[in-house]
């Protein structure tokens, strides 16, 4: 198992490789590699029993692959909690550091870290942390953009992309905030919401409104 192989595994998992087939192109785009590199890496992962590949059709994970991916998500998110809680990092800076740490973390280390942090259930972006046995179930599915005008919702989870987080930070929109949806502009225009927590009005871009989960 190598860092790049681990990243392929994790990305297939995140793209839905547990329950559906993921395309070569999606993987190539997500990892910023050429399509040919994906074909090659996937064939190795197939030999190792981590993935199933039907040529020209798509890629999905085996049980073993899913288990390994959960383990990585667990490591990634626990390190994120550590960076925020213990080292005073801000939300936008933790992802890249955790991306490195996850690949050099033994089972023993991650379990000790988990305990030290008090067995947290969510990462700082609101994602669920799989437990020791890999149980994992992302819970919020509604996206801010899907909320109707007039709805009052609670911000629950962010996709952890650095630029998005920086943008949301500037907007002062945090996890846990209650917001009232005021209006959706047409033609993929922004969503205007009122943050009830500090009573300010925010204009959230169409794209960002798809990366903010609410309930």
């Amino acid at each position: 198992m190598t860092p790049m192989k681990e990243d392929y595994l994790k990305i297939i998992f995140e793209l839905g490789g547990t329950h559906k087939k993921v395309s070569n192109k999606q993987i190539a785009l997500s990892l910023n590699v050429a399509a040919g590199s994906v074909t090659e890496m996937i064939s190795k992962m197939t030999e190792e029993g981590l993935a199933v590949h039907v040529p020209y059709s798509g890629i999905s994970l085996t049980k073993k692959g899913v288990r390994a991916a959960e383990e990585l998500v667990r490591k990634h998110r626990l390190w994120e909690v550590f960076l925020v809680e213990k080292l005073g990092y801000s939300l936008a800076d933790i992802h890249d550091e955790a991306e490195q740490l996850e690949h050099v973390t033994s089972d023993r280390m991650i379990n000790a870290l988990d305990e030290m942090l008090g067995n947290p259930t969510h990462c700082p972006h609101g994602g669920i942390i799989p437990d020791r046995s890999g149980h994992y179930h992302e819970d919020s599915h509604q996206v801010l953009n899907d909320a109707k005008d007039g709805d009052i919702v609670t911000v629950d989870r962010f996709i952890d992309n650095h630029d998005l987080l920086t943008y949301l930070g500037e907007l002062k929109l945090d996890i846990g905030d209650q917001v009232k949806v005021l209006k959706h502009d047409p033609f993929e225009g922004p969503v205007t919401v009122q943050n009830l927590t500090d009573d300010t009005e925010l204009i959230v871009s169409y794209k960002a409104a798809h990366y903010v989960f609410v309930k």
Copy 2:
């Protein structure tokens, strides 16, 4: 800068590359690589201004190389403190984990970790932790084997090799213990000492007695 290059740098530093020339063979032996691989890697490090290489004579570090090596030693040792203090690891298990972590640790991260740990000055094996600006000076130089029969000395530092630490753990010889040297057997035989801390008699192998520093 790559993990392997970093390990070359650190080993040259530890073999004395700051003040003298280190041989190709020493490096190859320490890193378990072929001599040819060392020649190759060193030539890259020379191009990058990290090392100075006089063919057939030896290798030493430039100022830049020394600075980078100190940074790595600092990262390595701070992670070791973390593993013991925060995650409950034992002395013998920390080196290999720290060996991985050191290569994925940003300056920001290590400084935050340093602060979180209360700016420790020594790693769990008794080695000095260079400060933020890289100041570093290993202080104890006398080795257990050099102490004369009858001397009473304090155990100060161990070379952090897993097998050595396991052996010393079985012997119940810890850093801080006061011991009285009883006798040196001839022909590279063991050193017999009395541990004044718990009043037991220990027989320490000739080789191990070179890896235990005292004052």
